[in-house]
Each structure stands twice: as C-alpha cells, then as structure tokens.
Symmetry: D2
Subunit: 107 residues, 4 copies
C-alpha cells in the first residue's frame, strides 16, 4: 500500500513527519523521565516509605502521558490528516487504529 | 506521633519493613524500565512511527503499575496491618491515606 | 465562525452528523447502563459484599467507555475530518480540542 | 471457611457491616447517577455535539468513582480490618483480593 508507506506504516516504520519542537520537547522529557526512574531505584534501595515511592511513580506516569500527548498531536497533524485527505477506506482504517490507540494508550 | 515514626511516616520516611523478595523484584523491574525509557529516547531520535512509540509507552506504564502493585502489597502487609492492629484514629488516618493513594496512584 | 456552527460547535451544539448505526447502538447501551445503575442501587440497599458491588461498578465504567468510543468514532468521521479538510487554524484548534478530549475522557 | 462467611465472602455475599452514613451517601449518589444516565440518553437522542456528551460521560465516571471509593472505605474498615486481625493466610488472601480490586476497579 503506497500511502501506508508514505505514512510510515510500512517496513520503515517512520513517522511521515515530526515537528522539530515536539521532537526536542520529547527528548528532553524522556531524559528527565530516565532520571526519575533512577530516583525510584534509589528509593527502593533505601527502603523508603512505600506511599512516597508510589507518589513518585504517579509522577512518572504523568510525565509519560505528556510525551504520549505530544506524539498524539504529531500523529493527528501529519498521519491522521493525510489519511483524512485521502479519504475512503484509508480514512476508516486510520480511525480504527486511532480509536485503538486512544483507548489502549491514553490511560 | 510515635506510631507514625515507627511506621515510617516520620522524618526518616522509611518503610516499616520491606519483604526482600518484593524489594529484589522491584529493583529488577526498575532497571528494565530504565532500559525501556532509553529505548523510547532512541525511537524518538529515529522519528519512529508515533503509534509505535505510544504502544511502547503503554508498556512502560504497565511495568510501572506492576512495581506500584508490589509496593502496595508491602504497604498493606506491614504499615496498614500495623495501623489496623493499633486501631482507633490511627486506623482511620491510615484508611484515609490509603484511599487517597489508591485513587491517585493506581490508575 | 461559520464552520464552527456547521460543525455543531456553535449555539445549537449539534453534531455535524451522526451515523444512525452509532446512534442506535449507543441508545441501546445507555438503556442497559441505566438498568445496571438501578442494579447497583439494589446491591447497596441489600448491603451486598463491597468488592462485589465494585466489580459491577467496573462493568458500568466499561460500558460507558464503549459509548464514549463510538462517540469518538463519530466525532473523528465527521467533525474532525471536516476540520482537517478545512485546514489551517481550524484544524489546529480541532487537534487541541481532541487532545483535551482524549486525555480527559478516555480513561 | 467460617471467617469467610462472617466476612460476607460466603453464600450470602453480604458486607460484614455497612456504615449507615456511607450507605445513605451512596444511595443518594446512585440515584443522581441514574438521572445523569437518562440525561445522556436525551443528549444522544438529540444528536448533541459528541465531545459535549463525552464530557458528561466523564462526569458519570467521576461520580461512580466516588461511590467506589466509599465502598472501598467501608471494605477497609470492616472486612479488611477483620482479616488483618485474624492474620495468617486469611490476611494474605485478603491482600491478594484487595490488590486485584484496587487495580481492576479504581481506574
């Protein structure tokens, strides 16, 4: 499928386009998340109070959701928009994929 | 509050007790999660297809929930159990804290 | 904004279009959900075992999510698709609204 | 298992005890939720703007979570507390049930 390839859905699995600002924000966020996870390891090593560790875990969840949200924005702007403009079964397939994505990943 | 201190709720913020098996499982899980987060950084660097990155993010959420669940188990076994046996306002305060914890962190 | 009105975002707050199959499915689901809520009332009246009631509540959450998912599908097919085709600031505004919607309602 | 029966886990599936204030609050909440669900039916009948209906659905989810939270409080106060005081395998079984309950119903 030609449009699938151009859309990054093919073998290469590349995004059709990535906004530089979104990419940089997400790189920065993921480095911070890596640091948070190392912080969690330290808390576990030190037998810290469990609810305190759990609150930190909740903050990593929040940070990951922020990354996912920007990826979703990029996906809407480029991949979904392209499928909508193509229309027909491509658009329907994209809505199905998008609904699965929303309900499995946006929690 | 004396019992708060012994329960790790005081300045030291230590868990009253940590089961070694839970601790080791969580240390292993958090190292794997750190690796997953570095994998996410690579995916973002390489402009991978956004939904594919989001599915990986969902898997990090799942892995973090598994850590939280074991921390909750440890918390129930030791800290909550201690407060229940003490009873009275200590138990009520623990239920309040536990409900907050459940509804803010178990998502 | 003309397109906003045609898109149902205006005073009338109507959907730009609703697929009859989606509408009928959702009407049926919501009647069943009403019955489930009355079932919950009965369980509370009868002092049923709390975890048993909580499992029923989880099933109402699931049923509501299924309704939300079909509404999201209808929204993508009609309102979002229209905004994408219009492009420009309309499309960007729609992505912002959609991201808010996804992250506040799809939990 | 004798304690299971007294705990409401047996055939009767009754709560071991229900605080009257919790029961009344939940009865009131569930009647209001029933009204909200009827409101959703009306919105669907009238082809209202999908995101507007979804925001109302989110508010029903919130209201249901508030009911679940009070049921969890009652469960901690009575059933869990009883199992903790009994100790041993009863307590462990209760923690397992509680963890399942937390991670399947508190979302």
């Amino acid at each position: 499928m030609d449009d699938a390839a151009s859309c990054g859905c093919g073998a290469s699995r590349k995004a059709v386009a990535v906004d530089p600002a979104i990419k940089e924000t997400n790189q920065k966020r993921l480095r911070r998340i890596e640091g948070q996870v190392r912080g969690l390891q330290k808390m576990v090593d030190e037998d810290r109070y469990c609810p305190e560790i759990m609150v930190q875990i909740a903050s990593v969840h929040e940070a990951l959701r922020a990354v996912g949200r920007e990826l979703m924005r990029n996906h809407l702007r480029h991949c979904v928009a392209q499928a909508v403009r193509t229309g027909g079964s491509d658009a329907e397939a994209m809505y199905d994929e998008l609904l699965d994505l929303i309900y499995t990943t946006s929690r």
